[in-house]
Amino acid sequence: MQGGGSGLEKFREETRAWLLANAPPSMRTPLAPGEEACWGGKKEKRSPDVQRWLDVNVERGFTAPTWPRTYGGGGLSKAEAKVLAEEMSALGLRPPLIGFGLSMIGPLLLQEGAEALRSEHLPPIVRGEIRWCQGYSEPGAGSDLASLQTKAVRDGDVYVLDGSKIWTSYAEKADWMFILVRTDPAAKKQHGITFLLMDMTTPGVTVRPIRLISGASPFCETFLTGVRVPVTNVVGQENQGWALARALLAHERTMIGDVFKERDDTDKLVAAARDHLGDDGGRIADPLVRDRIAALEIDQACLDLTMQRAKDGARAGQKPGHESSIFKLAGTELNQRRRDLHCAILGPQALGWESEPSAAGTAGYGPEELKATRDWLRSRGNTIEGGTSEIQLDIIAKRVLGLPDARGARKDGA
């Protein structure tokens, strides 16, 4: 720390001091198994520490550091926000608030929303009062998202919505949904879609949780029957919602690629291999498994470095291309390989669904083993949700490699 330092250094020192003074000690511990980060919203039950940590951050605008102060943000520069993130990470602090409000709909409103929508929605997002969910997919519209059929018929000052959405994560816990609806059934499919904000408490909205092959999940189906949404809740223009949705999707892909690997995944695999296959002079005794772990970790290193390269490139002013598709594709498949390999290592211990240890404590399946099995099942969804691998391959082939359109393939955007 050379001398007094720049303004940024001053900010760093002040921030650190503030964090040290204000963060409850419990907010400097990792989440316990089963514990959830603070997502905000009316239905969330928060511990006093979580609430306090949220409150002090809200007061300083640190839940949305770079958003304008007008809406309750911190008004920080990108450089300052980076410093804040670094200091929080250095202290092992939990983020005071996460969620689709901060990461998806908020930024979109800042870019594209009318002033009235911003004033209405951004402050409650910043304060963690409102939790959001995303209403895109429908039972008949998966990869071909633009073929969605939920209709919104204009009736005076409102749209009347009928249809259903699927894969709406946390719809049960959300207060609002940003939703794609068809406002012009006659137009070409991308051209009749509108991006709306919908209060989940509106009459006619019902939510049903989806059970996955891996067990309970945050996903829901949301049924809409005559749901009345004010036309003032349109983001952007009527029938122009598709472009907004696509921008958010690309953003989501990058997040997904980044999210899979847990810090200690390698250690877990190696430890499981030593435990189940033996250790031979400090090495995993089974050379085949050793080779598979090494191959996985090498590919993971290559992907991590590629993501770093994209970030370094962006910092150096390079325009981003379609890297998000590479990250999504490779990141999800790597996670599947990892989960599959974990089961292969566990062998007969990878077959449990539910288990209580036997009297002697040696029978049955341990919690880590049960988790490995469910993680494997859950990972199969990674290459489907957020844009299937097939869609990512299409995007890379067409947009990156410039290969000609297949006559049989969809002619219209992915």
């Binding site: 067990g215 077959l351 669904w353 036997s358 040696t362 029978a363 099995t373």
Partner: protein, 375 residues
């Protein structure tokens, strides 16, 4: 040996298919998941009445002795509907052990009962950390007096263990490994039910100073391990046939979906990338089918020994990889709906994992194949 079904086998296949369709649709497998006994006593009785449980049992003991090729045809059709009845455990593992290793008295006592569906046997050979090795066990059997054995130990993940009335237990004896037939009702036997990812039940079986009569030991001294290997080869070939049926059903279900699910205005099965992947999966099912037919034909043959074991390892290695690959791809091609618990395709994925890990995974069988081939 001909790798083709004869007329009788074709009729049997149709009968099994009809039975499975009527009496054991997938909805039944779904309903039985984790519930109660995990199988249906009525269906089991009907299977016995159809003669299926005695297909590989000699006529002297009430079976038909038609052989493994016949039983495989049945198992394939039942595998297509994920029927959970303990045929492999009882009619293959149990019956083979008793037929090859049991005294005449033991055979008279148990084999006709198996044929009639009055006996359920479960193989209790696996222990913590034995992975796929048959010899890596700590359970012991001591000849406590001239006429009884005393068993001590714990067996894990015993398939059908929670419904069995007898266990086939491997134990360490002075001269190696021996097999014992142990009544579930014997004093000192504790059975703890566990639920597996495929919804079927298994159990851990604790043996605390369990005493069994002298003649409950199967096979001559010092040859228990070889007997166990032959027993498990029979069971493995049967399991491979089940797997073949399951993977073929999962593939057919996926093919249906590809032909009917419309995205971008066309059935997704018209996308060439999916077509090529589907074609490769189909080739895998065809290769697996040949290996399964060959393994069962070899079991019926007179040859015995390494060639039979090799044929079984070929079948299990191939079926393990093929079933898992098909199940993974089937879920992927179904997309989101394939991930939901309410869709049936996920049942096959879960079953694929259990089958893969039963009697040795593909890597284990490749290694065994190499050993049996002299490299």
């Amino acid at each position: 040996m001909d790798l083709v079904l004869n007329e009788e086998q074709k009729l049997l296949r149709q009968a099994a298919k009809d039975f499975a369709h009527a009496r054991s649709p997938l909805a039944r497998a779904r309903k039985l998941r984790g519930a109660g006994e995990g199988y249906s006593r009525d269906v089991w009785k009907e299977m016995a009445e159809l003669g299926w449980l005695g297909l590989t049992i000699d006529e002297r003991h009430g079976g038909t002795g038609l052989g493994h090729r016949y039983l495989m045809v049945v198992l394939e059709e039942l595998g297509a509907k994920l029927a959970p009845e303990p045929i492999v455990s009882t009619a293959l593992l149990g019956a083979t052990a008793i037929e090859l290793g049991g005294s005449a008295e033991l055979q008279r006592e148990h084999l006709p009962a198996i044929v009639k569906g009055e006996r359920i046997i479960a193989l209790a050979h696996h222990e913590r950390h034995s992975r796929f090795s048959l010899a890596a066990i700590d359970t012991t059997a001591e000849a406590s007096t001239g006429t009884t054995w005393t068993l001590n130990g714990e067996k894990l993940h015993v398939a059908d263990g929670s419904i069995a009335d007898h266990f086939l237990v491997s134990a360490r004896v002075v001269d190696g490994v021996a097999l014992f037939l142990v009544p579930a009702s014997a004093k000192g036997v504790t059975v703890s039910r566990e639920e597996r990812v495929d919804g079927r039940s298994a159990a851990s079986v604790r043996l605390d100073r369990v005493m069994v009569r002298q003649e409950m030991r199967l096979g001559a001294g010092g040859r228990g391990l070889r007997l166990l290997e032959r027993v498990i080869d029979a069971g493995t070939a049967g399991l491979a046939a089940e797997m073949l049926g399951s993977m073929s059903a999962a593939f057919a279900m996926t093919l249906d979906y590809l032909a009917t699910r419309v995205q971008f205005g066309v059935p997704i099965g018209s996308f060439q990338a999916l077509q090529h992947r589907a074609a490769r999966l189909y080739v895998e099912t065809e290769l697996a089918r040949s290996a399964v037919m060959h393994a069962s034909a070899m079991l019926d043959g007179l040859e015995g020994g390494a060639p039979v074991a090799r044929a079984v390892s070929v079948a299990k290695a191939k079926c393990s990889d093929a079933f898992m690959a098909i199940a993974h791809e089937a879920v992927q091609m179904h997309g989101g709906i394939g991930m939901t618990d309410e869709h049936d395709i996920g049942l096959f994925l879960k079953r694929a994992r259990v089958c893969e890990m039963t009697f040795g995974d593909a890597a284990y069988h490749r290694d065994r194949f190499a050993r049996l081939s002299g490299f």
